[in-house]
Symmetry: D2
Subunit: 281 residues, 4 copies
């Protein structure tokens, strides 16, 4: 394992506190248990028993992708790791994927996606607000992932520049307004995902997807429950995050051929209707 170098972002563990710290030669970090001198960390490998100048034990590690997301600089609600990992699987994001993100925000999901599409994939992330783009840009630079994410200041109502992308993910207030643009940008059968905080938005979005030539619609939410890691007194934490957002997924579907479709529609049995009896009583 290569040693820590100047400029690297580290995870510091001091008692029950965990925080990210960027190493800078000559610098000193003040904590409530004494000073941490960056020069004592630079050149060390991770996971060593170090100490503050007051003798309190400190451990310095490379942060996980999870640590990075949770500690990212933010000017907006971010997509949390409990959702991020699931989104990546549902959208099949992996090395080589080409992904559009609508609503960069602070760039937490952008970072996770850029990390996953390396070395030959790319994330195209659209955002209207200046302040958010600046923060997202910094977050990508700090994680050395800027080469795999392209930030674009644009109203997504005007459409996306890319075509045939593998997946589009929207984190905007009214995602149902942009489904035509999403459809245009997606490859045949491509993956759609979105996160919305309210049930009303879920209803509006799935209604839009049904009418907008998408199929395989799924809605879910993910709850993460932490436990206090005490062997003889194991129990969940007293408080937990009760809600971040609902996840909605779908797949792009071919538009029906207009002329003959009408004719056959009257004759085709619809298994959806047939099978749905008794499903929602």
């Amino acid at each position: 394992m290569r040693p820590f170098c100047d400029g690297e972002t580290t995870l510091v563990i001091l008692g029950h506190k965990r925080f990210l710290m960027r190493l800078q030669a000559g610098q000193t970090q003040h904590t409530h248990h004494g000073l941490i001198r960056h020069d004592e960390i630079i050149g060390q490998v991770p996971g060593k028993h170090l100490a503050t100048h007051l003798g309190y034990p400190v451990v310095v590690l490379r942060p996980s992708l999870h640590d990075i997301i949770m500690n990212i600089e933010r000017v907006s609600q971010i997509v949390y790791p409990k959702e991020t990992g699931y989104i990546l699987l549902k959208l099949s994001v992996g090395p080589g994927s080409r992904i559009i993100e609508g609503g960069t925000g602070s760039g937490a999901l952008t970072v996770a996606m850029a990390h996953s599409v390396r070395p030959n994939g790319r994330v195209y992330s659209y955002e209207q607000r200046d302040d958010m783009l600046r923060v997202a840009s910094r977050n990508l630079a700090n994680t050395a992932l800027a080469d795999w994410a392209e930030l674009k200041q644009r109203d997504i109502a005007e459409g996306f520049d890319e075509r045939d992308v593998d997946a589009v993910f929207l984190d905007v207030r009214e995602p149902w307004l942009y489904l035509a643009q999403v459809w245009e940008a997606l490859a045949e059968g491509g993956f759609f995902g979105a996160v919305v905080p309210t049930t009303n938005q879920v209803s509006d979005l799935i209604a839009g997807l049904e009418q907008g030539h998408f199929t395989d619609i799924e809605v879910c939410e993910i709850l993460l429950r932490g436990y206090k890691p005490v062997p003889a007194r194991l129990r969940p934490t007293d408080r937990m995050v009760g809600h971040t957002g609902y996840l909605v997924f779908a797949r792009r579907l071919e538009k029906p051929v207009p002329a003959s479709a009408e004719e056959s529609a009257g004759e085709t049995p619809d298994p959806e209707v047939e099978e749905s009896h008794g499903q929602d009583t």
Copy 2:
């Protein structure tokens, strides 16, 4: 988007049913709504409006990594996508990662990890049972990911062959028995993760981690709640998965220097103790 080819695994959506189907020229799939002829799919792009021979609408798609995991051939309990995505983030698995898995099982997590470490990373997966290795091997072959995962038939009590790996994940009955082997194989500060189904195992594992030179121990569980995607009658599904397993994570820590450590230990203030007051009342 390239068209479907012979031998490819597809996701078929027929009414409320979703299933994986491997395309084979000349073959026919029987369903309760009529026949699907593979030759009508081969050469088509995903997401087209097709039909059974009885005229029922069918859509054929490329499965997501999520679909593949959920439909994988299995001879054991698998790690489910709701956990998989989170595990990948917590262990920072990405392109280039070198990962050890103890307990291949049916290979569901192996597949997800192999997918994520491409093109230059590698998964080393250990399993004792013949039958499981055969299934896992088939699952890797079917997903064209065999090049990134090395299956080893071995009792992990004997230790791992690799050194300096980025992460080790254990899915075995008594993970606390192998922490010394895990420690040897991990890079300094490396990531440890495990899944266990019972609270007793969680207690045993975190006790082992505390004594085995690990730090930053975290325990959690993840609940996925699905919703019926009906815009005017939005509601969670009546039944859900109540439990799959508890996730435990930690980081490898340097072993303390034996001689002088004892001396200083008596003098060093311990912020853990100090800060824990009132945390577990």
Copy 3:
């Protein structure tokens, strides 16, 4: 503890099976582990070690209110105990309470309320459907609670007969249509509660309550997670109930005086608005 008597409903525990059984002199119950003769139970106290004619151990107990609700004869979705207990507390149901229930259904909640209002309270339960009233009536008779519940076959759109009741609970499809009738029947400051299965109904109902002179609106859902009671392998059950319904509660509020209200309304600062900033970001 008095012994079991002829005609009494008992809870039978046979291995992992639990079921309610009404004792009838001379009768025999067939089970997959042999016969249970009712005459061997009548006259015994609960909790004795009995056996089927094949020698399998059987325990016979008096059912709890929880057991009764879970095993009640039903022709409709019932209100489950996980919600029932909470509803009783939120509506302050207790000895002497006078309660209206709109939508008797199978009478599960009616039974729980009748049990709680004894000896001098009363439940007035309205239902339109014949078949449900018959089942609810049987359920009340079987639990010897018929004296505390009055079943009325009526469309609640026509209003309730009672005035100044302590609480009204609605379990109907569109509860927001009957809020004027509820308001008329409730005592000043009285308790309102309802259960609805979809988020759309929740939105409609709370909009109605806001306009219908109610205050202190609360919405929640209750999740019950069972565990397998094995000391050395403690873990939640694999599957659980994911959803039964959303609970909505409110309190009846005086109608504002129409004339002078308009005048003062313009001058009165509204703390709701002021305090709600940043609550729904």
Copy 4:
């Protein structure tokens, strides 16, 4: 509905704030939106449109049993309403019940039980600590329920005074130590319940129950998820209570006859073992 009287405890709703307030003639309550004069409330019926001296709207109501529990004076962790209602149903607490509580604490559950057993039942509540008994006593007096609850300062290791009680509920650190005492006090087939915060305690308790002549053991936890009651933006609250405690329930079972029991034990087939295959894989 009878008007508020001097000395009565009320629920005050002022903007998003809700608090209990005891009416005292001549008194004034200071709030951040102005003064509330008690004399303007005494003699009024609940649910009227009142105002602070600055003109902010105030509503005054009779608190529900739920409100009372949530706002009770406390010197200890209390049993919360989400568990209380369920406990009452599982123990079949109702008018006339005779209940023992071990571990009075602040008396929140004592109050709920006393409320439910009126007019002819009784709660016998044991507590060792002076300070807790004083608080519990005040809480019972303030809710006018002291006539139905008898507080006893005693170590429950010495046993309970009562016999043939309908139910015993323990809220103590090591409930498994007192199961013999519980067994002695309970009626045949009587109800046992307990709340414990950790999984280790659950394991110890159910092991004790299995050996201590109890049956029908159940373990569960209850999660309450609140929603922001905004019709057009319905969503769960951002944070929720992640854990209060695990509930354990059981029923008292006759002690087996010692002599002949040994003999027959070897011959009796055990359906528990037979049926448990595949239950905990």
